[in-house]
């Protein structure tokens, strides 16, 4: 079963890398949407059905922390799981993102296998090939 994903990162080359890694990891991705900050992500989420959000933290306009706060306040979007992908491996940051509602946290650098394991855990194995 294919799943739809929203990739939120201010770096276009990083968004492209995540797309490619998802393919390399063997995941069957359906629609794949992109946003360069939290504001764009919320606009995309209002237009499209998304199974999982992959989000960076440091972004202009609206960062990943604020995006998670906004998701929690929206009855429809609250149930969409978010996986944080960040370079920040500090304990304080990880705990803060989890407390804001993130379902998982992957630190860069990451392997295709690590991403696949987290997606499988979050979405359930029925979504994996």
């Amino acid at each position: 079963m294919a799943f739809s994903v929203l990739i939120v990162d201010d770096s276009p080359v990083m968004r492209g890398f995540i797309r490619r890694v998802m393919t390399l990891s063997g995941f069957e991705a359906g629609d794949c949407w992109e946003a360069s900050n939290g504001e764009e992500a919320l606009a995309q989420l209002r237009e499209h059905e998304v199974d999982v959000i992959l989000t960076d933290i440091n972004m202009p306009k609206m960062n990943g922390e604020e995006l998670l706060r906004q998701l929690e306040t929206d009855a429809r979007l609250r149930s969409v799981p978010a996986l944080v992908i960040s370079t920040d491996a500090t304990k304080d940051r990880i705990l803060r993102m989890i407390s804001l509602g993130a379902e998982g946290y992957i630190t860069k650098p990451f392997t295709p296998e690590a991403l696949r394991e987290e997606l499988e855990r979050i979405l359930g194995e029925s979504h994996a090939q």
Partner: protein, 161 residues
Amino acid sequence: MPNDLERTAIADQDVDFHVIDRVAAEVLETMFFTEAVANGCDHAWFGSAITARIQFEGSHVGQFLLGVSLDAARSMAAGFLGLAEDEMTEKDCRQVILELSNILCGSVLSNRWPDSRLSLAPPELAGCNCCKEHAVHRCFALTEGALSVTICCADAPEPRV
């Protein structure tokens, strides 16, 4: 004989070197498909290098500087983007090096200071960022070319001579 303060500074710098070496090797192998081996400094390649800078503040204040030789930059960018080098634009290459600086900076700083609270500015292309005083500096030999990492910190110890 070094005194207690000097011994602490030397030990801190050894930890800095160890973290930079480990993180650089992991980042470059995992996401940029190249090997990085710590190497002696030879900055002859700096003239044509792509260089990036990230300012950081919070529990530590300073800047992270990255230099990548042109041949290494093109090779790593192609690997990261999954393209052949001749399919890639110069803009693509610079954006990948900015992303590399972002990943290296965040990963090195949060591994070096796991209990810290830091805010990182967006990476920007910078001028020549040769080794500076009061900084931790490492050079690496890559499969194709060279790379350098420099961390200038307001509370950095005096460099070891």
